[in-house]
Symmetry: C2
Subunit: 358 residues, 2 copies
DNA sequence: TTGAAAGCGCTAACAG
DNA sequence: CTGTTAGCGCTTTCAA
């Protein structure tokens, strides 16, 4: 009866730990011990078990293991896309920091916000993960609170924690850098009509950059011209299109501040097509210092955003959290200007790193 | 006794389906049915259950569900990195194709080859996934065979299947495009000393491109000069460094064929630093047509590689496979030349798309 | 439309 | 050093 009952429901012939145990003439506990190094196993027994594993093509079922042990040896990362150097750097930072830890990294990509409804879990969660790193607003506040309450270690990127929660957040300095870059355009590059290409509305970073852009102008006696501000959505094509339209309309400006390097790239292309010289006619600056930016010509003046470091920092914070160690609830990493050729500096401020050579 | 025994081992206060059932005064089976739509549930019962879920902050445990049902509603993708536009496009193609399917996508990044040893599972596998898409040689042949034998639907990218296996593969045409591009350099750009920057040794694509590069030269009476061939590893910095050294040594060439756009970018920068004009002194061409390539100046002549389409194709093949439908075991997608400015064409072949404007 | 109960594959006391 | 056994949280017959 038992043998029959056991065999009955097996959908296919995948070998289980029980099969291995039977084949090697030991108990499942011993197999488990050997595989997890939980406690010593006689050498002779061990080799019998390995032989069984080989013969039966056994592969441990990680989900069952997780169910039983409540440990997954995996951390999850939720990001909006993988189509940008920025996110790529971030992910590299995370995976590198986790390399010598015991954790694997699983990534879930979602362009839109996700949330737990009617108990339906996210693709990454307590069932397959020991902790989660969440980009921006990709997971709803409610869901974040829910997960926190259930005890899942969480780290947030580029946003503030939801009310009444104590989830650690990693950011970098946006306002200050945007302020300085705008000031650089005004003071060192002699520009007065500076256009701005916004990112996405629900990205706090984009808003902070815009704030810095506005305040720097005000502080230098320039009233920001609303007709010179448009949405580029962090997309190269969209930015290109916007600037094309500006040029077609003959809108006047002597600089463009793109809220990220992608948009700066698109802007430069549109300007060139319109017969404008960069930076002589119109200066262009970006934000992030993506890998290609130094290879453009003119090389792009931008702000170094420590994406990789944010990733490392997030990973380390999560490790500490899972380990029950004390952590910083808010980390803000510094940024700094990278002055190259696309801004047409007349002079370079001493406080700033001049990177002619990289 | 039973109540005690049940409650005893609970590590924390995460609500389970049992808690929900008790709270709503139904059996766990009914909760399960409601959540999965497996069979009808009385309206009044349903709302009691939803209320319980809300109150108890219940989240279903996907791993337990997977264990019991053998279904995960998830497909896995294994890629070498996320730092390139190429991989980014690939992932976009996959996720887009899966968007209206019932499947979520989970990504595992590993720069080195992984394999199953002593029964230790990969982070992505039958335990959390209904099918797997594997980039290049990232999973060992043995492991691939093992997974295939265990019945996990598999799709391979940019490589041949291991012996004796019937795993479908998606590739694109490398040799032909590399041949044509080299021929273009010789015939239309008047170049004779063409250097080559290799990718990674274990990438078949890189080898095929090199073969095309060599054969085109031979067919035009040029003997490939081994001293003009070096490894750039698909990395922009490494390529830059190699070309810097070439220039420092005064090595003579009138063109560089980089096996991908990343390396072409690095090459252009190194040439410019050495005071060479691109393309007047030295032409540079790449492979892939990454997003930034058209934004470089001079805009990069390259080969369009349908990364996104490969992703879509892989996803659709996997869906068909999981659905038991017939599939093509080998798909080779076409590529084509993109002639821009970096090659310094004297004339443009009619057969080729001229992209002055993008 | 609902409940009882037997697993899914594995780990972790506990006992020896 | 090894075996027994009770779960981990959920789905799924089978029966009502």
């Amino acid at each position: 009866m038992t043998a029959e009952a056991n065999g009955r429901a097996r959908a296919n012939d995948r070998a289980t730990i029980e099969d291995v145990a039977r084949y090697a003439n030991v108990s499942t506990a011993t197999v488990s011990r050997l595989l997890n190094g939980t406690s010593a196993v006689a050498e002779e027994t061990a080799s019998r078990i390995y032989e069984a594993i080989e013969q039966l093509h056994y592969v441990a079922h990680a989900a069952a293991r997780g169910l039983a042990s409540q440990k997954h040896h995996t951390i999850g990362v939720i990001v909006p896309d993988t189509s940008s150097y920025f996110v790529a750097s971030l992910l590299r930072g995370i995976t590198e920091a986790l390399l010598d830890s015991q954790y694997d990294t699983l990534i879930f990509v979602t362009p839109t916000q996700v949330s737990i409804q009617s108990g339906r879990p996210l693709p990454l969660g307590e069932h397959n993960t020991d902790g989660l790193i969440v980009f921006n607003q990709l997971v709803s506040d409610d869901t974040l609170r829910l997960l926190e309450r259930r005890g899942l270690p969480l780290v947030l990127l580029f946003r503030e924690p939801p009310d009444e929660s104590h989830i650690p957040c990693i950011n970098f300095e946006n306002y200050q850098a945007a302020y300085e870059l705008t000031e650089h355009l005004i003071v060192n590059c002699g520009r007065r009509r500076i256009a701005f290409l916004r990112g996405l509305a629900n990205f706090p970073d984009s808003q902070w950059r815009e704030n810095g852009y506005r305040q720097a102008q005000l502080d230098h006696g320039i009233t920001p011209d609303e007709s010179l501000i448009a949405v580029g959505g962090f997309r190269v094509q969209l930015a290109e299109q916007v600037v094309q339209e500006w040029m077609a309309e003959g809108r006047e400006m002597d600089a463009i501040f793109a809220a990220d390097d992608n948009m700066a790239m698109g802007a430069i292309k549109a300007l060139r097509q319109a017969g404008k010289s960069v930076p002589d006619d119109i200066a262009v600056v970006g934000f992030n210092d993506d890998l290609p930016s130094r290879y453009l010509s003119p090389a792009l003046t931008t702000v170094y955003a420590p994406a990789e470091e944010v990733g490392r920092s997030a990973a380390n914070t999560l490790l500490a959290l899972m380990d029950g160690q004390p952590i910083h609830e808010a980390i803000v990493l510094p940024t700094h200007l990278i002055i190259r050729q696309s801004c047409g500096s007349l002079s370079v401020p001493q406080s700033v790193s001049l990177s002619a050579n990289d």
